[in-house]
Symmetry: C2
Subunit: 436 residues, 2 copies
């Protein structure tokens, strides 16, 4: 077999065999002498052929499996607990993993979570966690064992040993305009999950103007592909399609979202954030047989929050991974926001998550490119949410971060993100469909 032949076959839109896909995945990784079967130009050409011709379900499953097995499996002891994880395709203000995982851990579910960083206008769980002083996302085996034994979970980054082929491929996709392809995305997400040896996975498939998937057909297609590939590889996957036009919750920005998570677990709910979090959580509870049905799960979640058990797990997670929440609060305490007032009046009809996400990059809350440095305090705190009434010159949003002062026409741009209406509209549910 030659790389040329594999590229040619995909170029001509023929389905690749298991051997050909495995040859490609193994060919991404350099041997001891630094040689690899596929050169960078061949990887780029192959990816573009995959992007433009698409991957079949079979090809996606094989690619996923080959990438999952390109490195080591994550080693941990579940101690008899059901093993679950949650993953999102990326949203603005999406801090759900940080709320959901302590709730699940408090319910006795093992949750060995490998998360990602933010790139582009959507945030990343790892960046949020790293806004906490001392938080370590690279645990060694001893630390992993301690987290599992004392808490039942952790949130770490993708180490060099986990699915290295995915890591290599992702870095090339990122610069060759081959990221947003459903097959490649599913393979990338699930390869890491397969390497976690999961039993259950709940996927938050974001859909809308602020997400990669902008229509329901594509969201369904991706959900179905997730299910198909999951089935082939022995992971039970639930896909919840949720709307991602407006930001989730009140805060966008790494540290601001950590604070919002703590408040949530203290019982200070934002309705919007609660709806998605409870839904995703209940999917896991039912799959893991913690609950018999959704309504029961909702009650159990209420109880875990009311009792403070979930909050305890949140604190414990931070402590076990070296974070110091109190020190962080002191550090960020003096940050003073710019308060932007409303130029119009009426009821908030919608908030442009994509525009706010992009503005977030400009003020240092996110990265335009991988090497950009994040300002952890930078971000937005919405003072008005969907459905709220606002008067002219009333405070609309708080903007944090030193760079915000340098943004021209900040007030105008922020106001442009808010669509006001003279009458109050019905607030629609974020939950669209559950597949699988």
């Amino acid at each position: 077999m030659l790389p040329f032949q594999v590229i040619q076959k995909k170029r001509d839109n023929n389905e690749l065999s298991k051997a050909e896909i495995e040859y490609f995945v193994n060919g991404l990784i350099a041997d001891a002498q630094g040689n690899k079967a596929f050169s960078d130009s061949q990887i780029g050409a192959f990816l573009m052929a995959c992007y433009l011709n698409g991957l079949s379900d079979f090809e996606t499953a094989i690619l996923t499996e080959a990438m999952a097995f390109s490195g080591e499996k994550l080693k941990y002891a579940a101690n008899g607990k059901p093993i679950a994880d949650k993953h999102s395709t990326g949203g603005v203000g999406d801090k759900i993993s940080l709320i959901l995982s302590p709730i699940c851990m408090a319910a006795g579910i093992a949750m060995p979570m490998i998360s990602g960083r933010g790139l582009g206008h959507t945030g990343g769980t790892l960046d949020k966690l790293e806004s906490i002083e001392g938080f370590n996302i690279n645990l060694n085996q001893e630390q992993i064992d301690k987290c599992m034994n004392e808490l039942g979970g952790f949130i770490i980054g993708q180490s060099a040993k986990i699915a290295p082929a995915d890591k290599i491929l992702y870095s090339i996709r990122d610069v060759t305009a081959t990221v947003d392809n459903i097959g490649l995305i599913v393979a990338s997400i699930l390869s890491k999950k397969i390497a976690e040896s999961l039993e259950f996975l709940v996927m938050d498939i974001k859909m809308g103007a602020g997400a990669f998937l902008t229509n329901i057909e594509d969201a369904r297609k991706m959900s179905q592909l997730m299910n198909t590939v999951g089935k082939k590889l022995g992971v039970d996957i639930s896909c919840v399609i949720t709307k991602m036009d407006n930001p989730i919750g009140k805060c966008i920005g790494n540290w601001l979202e950590i604070v919002e998570c703590e408040e949530f677990l203290k019982g200070e709910f934002d309705k919007d954030l609660k709806e998605i979090t409870y839904k995703l959580c209940s999917e896991i509870f039912v799959k893991c047989k913690i609950s018999n049905f959704e309504a029961e799960a909702f009650m159990q979640i209420d109880k875990l929050i009311d009792s403070g058990k979930a909050l305890e797990c949140f604190y414990e997670l931070i402590r076990l991974q070296g974070g110091d929440l109190e020190l962080s609060k002191m550090k960020y305490a003096c940050a003073a926001p710019i308060i932007i007032n409303s130029q119009g009046e009426g009821y908030v009809k919608s908030i442009d998550a994509l525009a706010l996400g992009k503005l977030g990059i400009e003020i240092g809350a996110g990265r335009a490119k991988e090497t950009d440095v994040i300002d952890y305090i930078a971000g937005f705190k919405l003072l008005k949410s969907i459905g709220d009434k606002i008067a002219k010159n009333e405070a609309l949003i708080e903007v944090y971060g030193e760079k915000a002062k340098l943004i021209p026409e900040l007030e105008y741009r922020i106001n442009n993100c808010f669509i006001l209406d003279s009458k109050m509209n019905n607030i629609e549910s974020r939950i669209m469909e559950v597949i699988g």
Copy 2:
């Protein structure tokens, strides 16, 4: 501008601007620090996007021009002569450049020819010339000037200074399955020709089982694109579509073809070879106003051959470029061929050029990959051509080269290349159409 954006635009099948294409071409070439704007993976992805989405006429013209100007123009003095060149898309036994260029030089046409090497089953002019002892395909400026002043032409390879972007791009296309795309081929061929500062170009567009283009529609499309791009860039191009199912002439193989060219110019014509050579030559004669019409051109070519003037130019070309034809003849004189006899009987209906070309690689007459070493004597001399009658066990072909002895079932495979018929068929013309 970012490489990512240019790739994305082509990926989404939008037409690139002049600035974007120039950015790509300049981005192929490393600066003094070894940095280039486009990484190898980005070049590979871009090429595959071009391959699958195609290039518009505009894009092809701009790509051609940008590649032509990525290096130096060839410097030579035409001494008032019309400047022409001939190029073929690649055939089996295609030695026409080596016959045509001395005829044109003898007719007072300047012919600064940049040729290529063989790769795959088709031969290359440079390899044929290098089968001549001492022949130098890398002339310095002084040698170029001498050739132009004393003869009016030369045949050289593409130096590092001529269209370097094309050279880089070709080496990547070769390994990424992005060679056989009409736009990319036209840009690659014409960029070198533009760098030659030509006035007239005759293209031999090969079509058939032994060529890259297998049907007349694609051949027409390529011819039209050649004309369009040529017009935009100020070169008058004539495309002659010729059939490439059977090998051209009697010999396939580097040294064997040199001998065949000498014989041709001595007046020992192979009908088949004569038809295409005369046609291509007459196109140049008429364009360069050496002749008023085709029939006149044919008579003038006859005269240049009968008088020995064309043969003289052939010898002079070899001498001026350091070749020693007599020494070469002595060197190859002792090579004894394997003679393959016919297993069947009848009239030769067709000869499989593709299969013979591929067999040629196996016996060392061509290269499967760039680093393969050529055995210059290796090749085939057809003892029977299309339309010839052959008896069972009569000699069919001579096979040269030491490696031929190692090929299993050589007799069977050679016989398989010859389709015999019980009756004699009409011999069809090789010339299909002239476009431009």
